[in-house]
């Protein structure tokens, strides 16, 4: 049997329900203060306009309809009240009250809970469930005493795990993972648990709350709700203040800095800075309030999958947006989550493949490296005192224009770390190599023409494919030696023949059709869209030499 870590005790999130009221009230009053009296009329009207528009789009008979109906009704009631008040009262009167009422309504929706009993229950049942499923799927063993394998052997947690544990004691962690699949949320929770860390607060998209089982756990394990459909200024500001306030309490948090899941399959390049900046805000406030452990540490986490549950619908979405009329959508839809998640883990366990999760180089709120003692490191052996970076004209203070730039810098450094802390798997290499070999065969084709090649046109001799794979492997190995990325153990140690075969098998494992197929002396792909998706994992490294996001033919570079 496997050994699972002790469940940690006495952590900040555990006390959360006791302070929840204060946190929400603070977030509301800080947000309210951000909007001066003169701006309230305009802000409210704009929010009303956007919300009316959003509410009109609600569909009862959709996948999420029945689960969000209650929320919809409450929102609708609020805004018709706001509308009435804006019309009834003379201009400018009572605007502050209306604003704060709206913010309190949102705060109740956003604010999470933490129930220690649910946490203890989940941490005792989930690992056993995972192990049971693993053994059932790989050996068809349903008897607990016959279980031979454990989850740790299949979920590879690598990188700076010890570093992360040390920093978690010295300050507040802001974990920033790459995001490919809704599975990520479950997996990250599990990784945090496996590392023996206390649970993290997590801003979860509304769509994850539509499943009753998942929703129950999230709601009681510190997840707070983020509704990305709500784009008005009041909501966005409140979300930031809430997150800042939670960090100030020393509650470790998770943000997906790419916003949603990566549509193209590539590692995130342009990060959303809104929530990211709350780490900086929290640290400044901690200094001002004389907190003993004021620092917020930003820790990248990079996940490497052989197959992604939603790859088909994500890449459709991406191609549709970037291609416009040049792309004919096939109507692939988002899979129904819980069922497909079970299917994912079943397949994952039964195919003997593994998932790599790497804890990356920890950064400070400006993007500088942080050592194990929690000190910010500058170039040439210097160390950086964050207080001095936050000092403007001799005073340590918030400075919105400056802090925005620092956060932009942090975003750039996170994206750089995502690429460097990425573990490249055999399946990524074969997908990228096949696609590039195909491009070489049709140098005049742009992306959308290439994706429409017939089966005959996209079939190539195995030897040519293998040659491209070996060449790419050489380039990647060079990059790995320079610290530009990591190669999985298979790519480092095994015979090329073996990892090429394994990579091709793993690549296709989840999908109905083979992403890459090898028969006799030829190789082809049954689904070029999917292949493009998996190929994109190795973009952003400038493997073709250019600087931009896209190359001259419109392929992700």
């Amino acid at each position: 049997m496997s050994t699972f870590p002790e469940v940690p005790e006495n952590f900040a999130l555990e006390r959360f329900d006791g302070i929840r009221k204060d946190v929400l009230a603070d977030a509301v009053s800080r947000t309210s203060r951000e909007f001066p009296d003169s701006s309230l009329e305009g802000t409210l009207r704009e929010a009303l306009f956007q919300e009316k528009h959003r509410l009109r789009k609600f569909r009862m008979f959709s996948a999420s309809g029945p689960f969000t109906y209650g929320r919809h009704v409450r929102d609708a009631r609020l805004w018709s009240g706001v509308r009435g008040d804006l019309l009834k009262r003379p201009v400018e009167a009572g605007r502050r009250e209306i604003t704060e009422r709206t913010l309190r309504h949102y705060a109740e929706e956003i604010g999470g809970h933490f129930d220690p009993a649910v946490y203890r229950f989940a941490t005792s049942i989930v690992p056993i469930g995972f192990n049971w499923m693993l053994n059932a799927a790989s050996f068809h063993t349903f008897l607990p005493w016959k279980m031979k394998e454990n989850v740790q052997s299949r979920l590879k947690i690598e990188g700076r795990t010890e570093h992360l544990r040390k920093l978690a004691d010295r300050g507040t962690i802001l974990l920033v993972p790459t995001h490919q699949s809704n599975i990520d949320s479950i997996l990250i929770g599990f990784v945090i648990y496996m590392l023996g860390l206390p649970p993290f607060a997590y801003g979860a998209g509304l769509n994850l709350f539509t499943n009753p089982v998942l929703s129950f756990f999230m709601r009681h394990l510190g997840a707070y709700t983020v509704d990305r459909q709500k784009s008005n200024a009041l909501y966005k500001a409140l979300l930031k203040h809430y997150s800042t306030r939670v960090l100030e309490e020393g509650v470790h948090s998770i943000f997906f800095p790419g916003g949603g899941r990566s549509r193209s399959g590539a590692i995130e390049n342009n990060l959303k800075l809104g929530l990211l900046g709350t780490g900086l805000q929290a640290q400044i406030r901690n200094y001002q309030n004389g907190k003993p452990n004021p620092n917020v540490y930003v820790v990248p986490m990079v996940m490497s999958y052989h197959f992604v549950l939603e790859a088909g619908s994500l890449i459709e979405d991406f191609l549709q947006h970037s291609g416009g009329h040049r792309f004919l959508p096939s109507g692939e839809t988002e899979p129904f989550f819980l069922l497909r998640a079970m299917q994912f883990f079943w397949r994952f366990f039964s195919t003997q493949s593994d998932i790599h999760v790497r804890i990356g180089q920890p950064l400070d709120i400006f993007g500088n490296h942080v050592d194990e003692e929690g000190r910010s490191l500058g170039p040439n052996g210097t160390s950086i005192d964050p207080k001095l970076w936050l000092t403007t004209q001799g005073v340590l203070r918030e400075e919105p224009a400056r802090d925005r730039e620092y956060t932009k810098r942090l975003g750039e450094k996170i994206s750089e770390r995502f690429h460097k802390d990425h573990t490249v798997l055999a399946s990524h290499v074969v997908a990228h190599a096949y696609f590039e070999a195909l491009r070489r065969q049709y140098p005049e084709h742009d992306l959308f023409k290439l994706l429409r090649l017939s089966i005959e046109q996209r079939t190539m001799p195995y030897a040519r494919f293998a040659e491209e794979v070996i060449r790419l492997h050489g380039v990647l190995r060079e990059r790995a030696d320079q610290g530009g990325l990591f190669l999985s153990t298979a790519l480092q140690e095994n015979e090329a023949e073996h990892w090429i075969r394994d990579g091709m098998l793993a690549l296709g494992a989840l999908h109905g059709h083979a992403v890459l197929k090898h028969e006799e002396e030829t190789v082809w792909s049954e689904d070029l869209n999917l292949l493009y998706y998996y190929r994109n994992r190795l973009t952003g490294y400038g493997l073709r030499g250019g600087l931009g996001e896209y190359d001259e033919q419109g392929f992700l570079a």
Binding site: F366, P379, W389, T391, A401, Y406, L547
Partner: protein
Amino acid sequence: MTSKDFWRESKVAVLGAGSWGTVLANLAAPHAGSVKLWFRDEERARLANATRTNAEYFPDLALHKSIVAVSEVERAFEGGVDAILWVVPSSGSRALARKIAPLLRGHEILIHATKGIEEGTLKRVSEVLGEELPLARIGSVSGPNLAAEIAKGLPAATIVASRFQEVIDAGIALLTNPRFQVEGSHDLVGVEWAGTLKNVLAIAAGCFEALGLGWNARAMLLVRGLEEMMRVGKTLGAKPETFLGLSGLGDLIATASSPLSRNYRVGFRLAKGEKLEAILEDLDTAAEGVRTAMTIADYATSQSLRLPITQAVRGLVAEGWDGERFLGHLLT
């Protein structure tokens, strides 16, 4: 405390005591508490403190009373500084940055006045400094600023560019005077590239002058040159409108028409048939355009960008082309 009050008490280090460094120190001195001007050479620093002039460049220009010349770079940072004016050639920037990195604390504002890029890496000076120094608030000052004219008190304007507004504000507070206007820009990438690329065109313009090609030809050169600058800039993330401002077109007109410009003089003498080594020896200050032309020409080849003027300047400085061949390349 207003921004002006803060800077009145501030300590400023000016690194590099060439012609532009000397003038910048003199511009900043009335607005700052104290200014340290760093010379590479001990004897010249001693002389500057004794005579209150930088005799090598401006024997008639009196150094402001609050300027202290130093020759050990550590002394420029003694007791900490609030702002650094960086007037070091691009080729020496990385090495000096490494040396002074331990002397900085992190709150300093740095504004560099170096119009060049790192050879081979295509890195802008602010990128190099950001990689080597433990500070983030970096900016650049750039514009049509022939040091000799500003030393005489002739009117001029410049741009301070940075991603950080407070760097721009510091530049405006420290450098503005009734004859010298300072504008701000957030397009640091554009301002740095504009200042760098126009040096290549200044070489071409000097060459045109030596060949006696006339005003029509010069106008053609400047306009096509500007287009080339914008084409390169676009691929490097610069905003096109920056090239039409003071640090782009403005600087281009000044450097490409004035014999005061070093790069212009290099082009002039090359077209007259002199050898590059001999010219550079005479100038004894950096002519950034020579290196830039070679770096950009390589970059253009790798990106399949068409840059005929840059290619021709490269031919002139690196491949021993004469004036005729240079002109021929531009007119094909």
